[in-house]
């Protein structure tokens, strides 16, 4: 038995648009694009960005001859250190974030108190511009620096003297990192294509391990487990296995220009399969930020910025990402942190649990309140409830109502005024199906005809609509030739129409030319 069925009334609907074949975003790329970017302008190129390792996670940006500290929460500058004689090249926080070291192009390394910003120590030994300074992660007493004189030095910060010098690089040393698991092990990368692993306990300035990146090394970073390093240089980011004796694991070559900086970031989300996994973020002169999943060995997200990128930083609490560019803009992005805030709130309410209990007695709604009249309307049905659904009402637009009343001409005019080309086409198709379109056109008065001609001018060459509209345009011009001759406004419309049609013909011809060029190639390829 068939259920009782009366014909419904169908509104005219525009044609469906085709859906994208591939889903727009993966879950992870949704995560990365959930960072809301804002610009911090008016700086001169930013070669280095570094985050404080402790709680508020403020960050320091080196730009020209000064170093500015920013709050990670507001992204506003909190302080500026400008006691530099030359452009600042690199900065580093100590692991407890009490000291801040910065190097400049004069070769001087200065150590500041991070709070008061007073210079505490001046470490002068490099003769050439110093581009790399770094506090080891597990060592509070020493400092590593490297300079364009190809020397790597280990400093005793308190005494302002170099403890050890590591010779071995043959070109500028521009980058390095310390091991997250051992206080004595660190690596440096140089423009001689070589990355060297040093051990401070070995004094004879012989590197424990060396890796050949095959391009000037711009940045090098230890991966969190300490057994692997990632190096950036040229167009590629390479992954090396240190425990396996410096074996190349993978080379990621999705940048088009030199990769200038890399850092390690964590997907700070509590759900999803990629939560709390680490990713390598790389930026390059091509303006791209790429997020590389080194577990799956693939790029999971890619983002473009309108300037060559020089440096990247990612806060340890996963809430802030900063990118420095060569034209002096910092793209700082913050993630919307609703969940975390909620957590905090719930925690605090846990603490104050006793207090709110007194307020839990439900207020009785009185007819004096608006909510009284809406009570129970938002009630959700429970499991066993039998739902009586109200039949959905079909919403009819103005043109639908007119079509239902067989006022075809008015329906056409009303939809032309509504300026949705999809709807206009749907109404035209319905009129064609009722054999009324041409009659409508012939009955339009001059002002409405102007409306129609403006619409035709605008959309008749659009591929989605052209099949119907081209035929209609021809008919309109044939049928209303006398009216068009009589009105200047209509003449203008027709002139515009003619122009757009000519332009379309030109486009088609050039497309055909291209097709003519391509088709022999395809024939050959198909063989």
């Amino acid at each position: 038995m068939e259920e009782a069925r009366v014909q419904r009334s169908f509104p005219v609907k525009p044609k469906l648009k085709s859906k994208a074949r591939t889903p727009k975003q993966t879950a992870e790329s949704k995560y990365w694009s959930s960072f809301k970017t804002q610009q911090i302008p008016d700086l001169i190129s930013v070669p280095s960005l570094t985050f404080s390792p402790t709680a508020p996670h403020s960050f320091a940006a080196a730009h020209s001859a000064s170093l500015t500290l920013f709050s990670a929460q507001t992204l506003a500058p909190t302080a500026t250190i400008s006691s530099f004689s030359d452009a600042v090249s690199c900065a580093s926080f100590r692991s407890d974030a009490l000291l801040l070291a910065a190097s400049d192009l004069s070769g001087l390394v200065q150590v500041f108190d991070a709070k008061s910003r007073t210079p505490l120590r001046r470490l002068r030994s490099h003769t050439r511009p110093c581009r790399f300074v770094h506090f080891p992660r597990l060592d509070k007493l020493h400092l590593i620096s490297a300079a364009d004189d190809a020397l790597v030095k280990l400093w005793d910060v308190a005494e302002e003297t170099p403890v050890a010098e590591f010779l071995g690089h043959k070109d500028y040393v521009r980058c390095g990192d310390s091991s997250p698991v051992n206080s004595d092990v660190f690596i440096t990368g140089s423009y001689d294509h070589v990355v060297k692993l040093w051990d401070a306990r070995v004094g004879d300035s012989k590197s424990s391990l060396q890796l050949n990146h095959a391009a000037p090394v711009e940045d090098v970073v230890f991966l969190p487990a300490g057994g692997m390093v990632a190096t950036a240089g040229g167009n590629s980011v390479k992954l090396w296995d240190l425990i396996g004796g410096g074996k190349l694991v993978y080379s990621m070559e999705s940048h088009n220009k030199t990769v200038t900086s890399i850092c390690v970031g964590r997907v700070g989300r509590d759900f999803g399969e990629e939560s709390n996994q680490f990713r390598i973020m790389s930026v390059g002169l091509d303006g791209y930020l790429k997020v590389f999943d080194y577990g799956a060995l693939k790029v999971t997200h890619s983002m473009r910025f309108p300037a060559p990128l020089l440096s990247v930083g990612y806060s340890p609490d996963c809430s802030t990402r900063v990118i420095g560019t060569s034209n002096g803009v910092i793209y700082a992005s913050k993630r919307r942190v609703k969940e975390i805030e909620k957590e905090k709130v719930s925690e605090s309410s846990l603490f104050w649990r006793v207090a709110p209990l007194e307020h839990t007695e439900k207020k009785v709604l009185r007819p004096s309140h608006f909510r009284y009249f809406r009570r129970g309307q938002g009630e959700k049905p429970s499991e066993g409830d039998y739902l009586v659904m109200r039949p959905k009402r079909v919403k009819l637009a103005e043109h639908d109502k007119l079509l239902n009343k067989f006022r075809h001409g008015e329906a056409l005019v009303s939809v032309l005024e509504s300026k949705n080309p999809g709807n206009v086409l749907a109404v035209m198709e319905e009129l064609v199906a009722r054999r009324k379109l041409l009659k409508c056109v012939s009955n339009l008065d001059v002002e409405k005809l102007e409306l129609l001609l403006a619409f035709l001018h605008r959309y008749c060459t659009t591929p989605r609509y052209s099949r119907l509209l081209m035929g209609l345009t021809k008919k309109v011009l044939e049928m209303r030739a006398d009216d068009i001759r009589g009105s200047q406004a209509l003449k203008n419309h027709v002139r515009n129409l003619k122009r757009s049609v000519e332009e379309e013909i030109r486009v088609q011809m050039s497309l055909q030319e291209i097709q003519g060029i391509i088709s022999p190639l395809l024939k050959i390829a198909g063989r």
Binding site: M1, S9, P23, V432, A433, L438, G471
Partner: protein, 794 residues
């Protein structure tokens, strides 16, 4: 053999006395449907020709269930339809086209029950002698016959008409009438009827051809509809002739003409009024049982309810099909309307809402000739025995061949359907995959004067409720060329669509790609490959049983393709006319092609030799292939000269591909526009597949093609569970069951309540400042006045 697909609307259905059953004439049988569930309960079988009239014997106790039926085979039968069995057969020797039995309707006098008068039926018969002598073209006759003691049809001929006309009787049984072109003839039924009793007759005239008439249940009012959509109502007809017995000529009637407004000439009626709402001919007219309202309907599919005194209208719109009959039931809350699309809707009455539909298979599109070449035939579902037919309102109806009932409908094109409108949108193609899980449809919007026009291809998937829902919609898949065919790959989710424009496209459902490891969320069909062969129009395609070869008919050659890589493998042969149908015979290496036109041809091609194997010059209407074996069946149209020899205009031939001699043949009627399909048999009946033949009128038979004699299939109704109707009607349906009245219990309980305390005497005693507030007292006081019924346990 299962037959089905009968026309439910060939004549008006009738409700049984308790309104729980609806009797419907279905071809040569009468089907009894349950009004509560809408499913078939039983059928009365016995007539050898189409049943044309059905009269239920009315009975006040609603227990008896007898009915009379009349048929074209010349017999009138008396049935007990509750059992069901035939009680009595009367052979009239004339084909009966309409029958009414007035004496059943008129209230019978109880006292002379013993000397019951004979029951007389008025029949409209076709005079077989009239055909012989061409001089008198009037072959329809209205006659009388005695049903109680039948000897022969009464020689008295009430009226001769050009064609047998249908008789209309007033619900009181006093009058009966027919329409005859522009005239109405109304007879008064004599009080005591006999074979020779002459009924009095009046004639009413109109200027247009009358299509339908109805008689008022109480008063002397007749309503008639004409071809222009007007409804005429004559009040007080027969005032002179019927009322004044004894031939007394009333002086009043002759002199004043102006006293009879609207009545033509010397017609015997007091007044005539005209209502005009219907834009085209009126098809149904019926008075409500109380006589206050008139129902009318026509081609536009709107049931109009007229208030008889004021002419005010009420509507039931959007029924979507021309209306044919409106039938009232003894239950005032039920009635039924029959629509031309083979549906009977049961209406809940005062609100006129459709509560249930008894759906027969929908008839062929009337627009088939408008867009010839575009419309295809019904599609069959091999596995579940369904047939999918296009409907007028741009939908597809799924009809179960085994259960013989409509299952559901899907709307292909979301458009409002008006039966009177010119056809501009057509669902031109429907195709089901072998396992019945995928469907492809094509809808065509015809252009207006070269502007507009659109071809849409839709792919459908079965959803969780085993119903089809749209999966993918493709606009203009072959640019502006029309699609000629769709074929599904039997093994994969792959389909091919062909166009007259000379190219084909292979479509693949994306879910398949997902299985190969890519992560794609939205499943849908997308174009996998495009192919063409010398820009020849393509009209037929078929996949081989393992899905590895695609055969496409390009005009008059067959091209073979590898569908996965879209590579042309081979080109086979050439026929004289374009190939219109193509198929692989089961799992064999043979391909069967069919050509139409002036040189029709049925050819079998061998794939191993890429050459013709054998062929016939024969006009083929339909062809069907088994899935597993190398058999195929064709439905051939016979030349007109052979029709008498074969007793039919078509013949079904069953072939084995390897042998040009047919294995079996059956001759059939109405083969034009028919279809043929192999269906999967019941699991109990081994692997034998069944052959279904559906004729041009969408009636079908299912039979075993291999059994020698006409083996009777046990008619299994899989899901025809007859729910026992617990529905109530009349008073109880509105107010529910009354509590059983038990005088004894009532007596005792009333005594007990009377003996209870009388609080109103004590409630207000005491000083006023001691009294509780009035609001509290009031409820107590009122409560004490109420008579308490103490629940008594019995």
């Amino acid at each position: 053999m299962i037959s089905g697909g009968q026309n439910y609307v060939s004549s008006a259905p009738v409700f049984s006395n308790d309104a729980k059953r609806l009797l419907v004439c279905t071809g040569s049988t009468v089907s009894v449907f349950s009004t509560a569930t809408g499913s078939r309960v039983s059928s009365l079988e016995g007539h050898s020709g189409p049943v044309t009239a059905l009269v239920v014997v009315p009975d006040s106790s609603t227990l008896l269930s007898f009915c009379w039926t009349a048929s074209v085979d010349g017999t009138i039968r008396h049935w007990d339809f509750s059992v069901p069995e035939c009680v009595k057969i009367i052979d009239l020797h004339f084909p009966v086209f309409s029958m009414v039995v007035p004496s059943l309707l008129s209230p019978r006098e109880e006292n002379d029950a013993k000397t019951r008068p004979d029951v007389f039926a008025y029949v409209s018969v076709q005079n077989p002698n009239a055909e012989a002598n061409c001089l008198s073209p009037r072959c329809g006759q209205i006659r009388k016959c005695n049903l109680t003691n039948f000897h022969a049809v009464s020689s008295l001929i009430l009226k001769e008409t050009e064609r047998p006309e249908s008789l209309t009787i007033s619900p009181s049984g006093k009058f009966l009438g027919i329409k005859d072109k522009r005239k109405l003839h109304i007879w008064k039924v004599p009080k005591v009827d006999s074979d020779s009793a002459v009924s009095k007759k009046i004639t009413l005239h109109h200027s247009k051809t009358i299509t339908v008439l109805a008689l008022h249940p109480m008063e002397r009012i007749v309503a008639a509809g004409d071809v222009t959509g007007r409804i005429l109502i004559w009040r007080g007809f027969g005032a002179q002739k019927f009322m004044h017995s004894g031939g007394l000529v009333n002086g009043r009637s002759t002199n004043d003409e102006e006293d009879k407004p609207g009545v033509r000439e010397n017609d015997d009626a007091e007044s005539c009024s005209t209502w005009h709402w219907h834009p085209s001919g009126v098809r149904l007219l019926s008075f409500s049982s109380d006589g206050a309202y008139l129902y009318s309907g026509g081609k536009e599919g709107v049931l109009v309810l007229w208030q008889l005194d004021t002419g005010k209208k009420n509507f039931l719109p959007r029924i979507g099909s021309p209306l044919l009959y409106f039938v009232d039931s003894p239950d005032p809350s039920l009635s039924s309307i029959s629509c031309a699309d083979n549906q009977i809707h049961i209406l809940k009455m005062p609100s006129m809402e459709i509560i249930r539909s008894i759906s027969g298979i929908k008839p062929c599109l009337s627009s088939q000739d408008i867009c010839e070449g575009l419309c295809s035939r019904a599609a069959f579902d091999y596995t579940s025995g369904l047939v999918a037919v296009q409907t007028e309102n741009y939908g597809i109806q799924f009809y179960s061949l085994f259960a013989n009932r409509g299952l559901y409908e899907v709307q292909v094109c979301e458009r409002n359907h008006q039966p009177v409108d010119e056809v501009t949108v057509v669902v031109s193609l429907v195709e089901l995959s072998v396992d019945g899980s995928m469907m492809g449809t094509v809808e065509v919007k015809l252009p207006e004067d070269g502007v507009g026009g659109l071809v849409c291809l839709k792919f459908w998937d079965l959803d969780d409720n085993k119903r089809f829902s749209v999966s993918t919609l493709i606009y203009e898949p072959h640019r502006d060329a029309h699609i000629s065919a769709i074929a599904f790959n039997p093994t994969r989710r792959m389909a091919v669509s062909l166009s007259y424009g000379g190219d084909f496209k292979i479509w693949v459902c994306k879910e398949e790609i997902k299985q190969k490891g890519q992560m794609l969320q939205n499943s849908g069909w997308m174009c996998h490959a495009v192919g063409s062969y010398k820009n020849k129009a393509m009209r037929a395609a078929a996949f081989s049983a393992d899905g590895s070869v695609l055969a496409v008919a390009a005009d008059n050659v067959i091209t073979l393709w590898d569908p996965n890589n879209n590579v042309l493998v081979a080109v086979v042969g050439e026929t004289l006319m374009p190939i219109t149908s193509l198929g692989f015979a089961g799992k064999s290496y043979y391909l069967v092609s069919v050509c139409h036109g002036s040189k029709p041809q049925l050819s079998v091609w061998s794939m191993s030799r890429l050459a013709a194997f054998w062929s016939y010059k024969i006009q083929i209407e339909a062809v069907s292939f088994t899935i597993d074996f190398s058999y195929f069946a064709v439905l051939a149209l016979l030349p007109e000269s052979n029709e008498y020899a074969f007793k039919g205009d078509g013949i079904i031939l069953l072939f084995n591909v390897t042998n040009p001699t047919p294995m079996a043949s059956w001759s059939v009627t109405k083969a034009k526009g028919g279809g043929l399909a192999f269906l999967k048999g019941y699991p109990s009946e081994q692997l034998q597949s069944l052959l279904a033949y559906i004729n041009g009128d969408r009636e079908y038979v299912i039979f075993h093609p291999h059994s020698k004699e006409a083996f009777e299939l046990s008619r299994i109704r899989q899901d025809d569970h007859v729910l026992e109707e617990t529905g109530q009607f009349g008073y109880t349906s509105i107010y529910g069951e009354l509590p059983k009245f038990d005088p004894k219990r009532n007596l005792t309980s009333s005594i007990s309540s009377a003996a209870s305390e009388r609080p109103w005497e004590t409630i207000f005693s005491g000083s006023s400042h001691m009294l509780p507030p009035l609001t509290k007292l009031c409820s107590e006081f009122l409560e004490s006045l109420l008579e308490k019924k103490t629940p008594t346990v019995e």
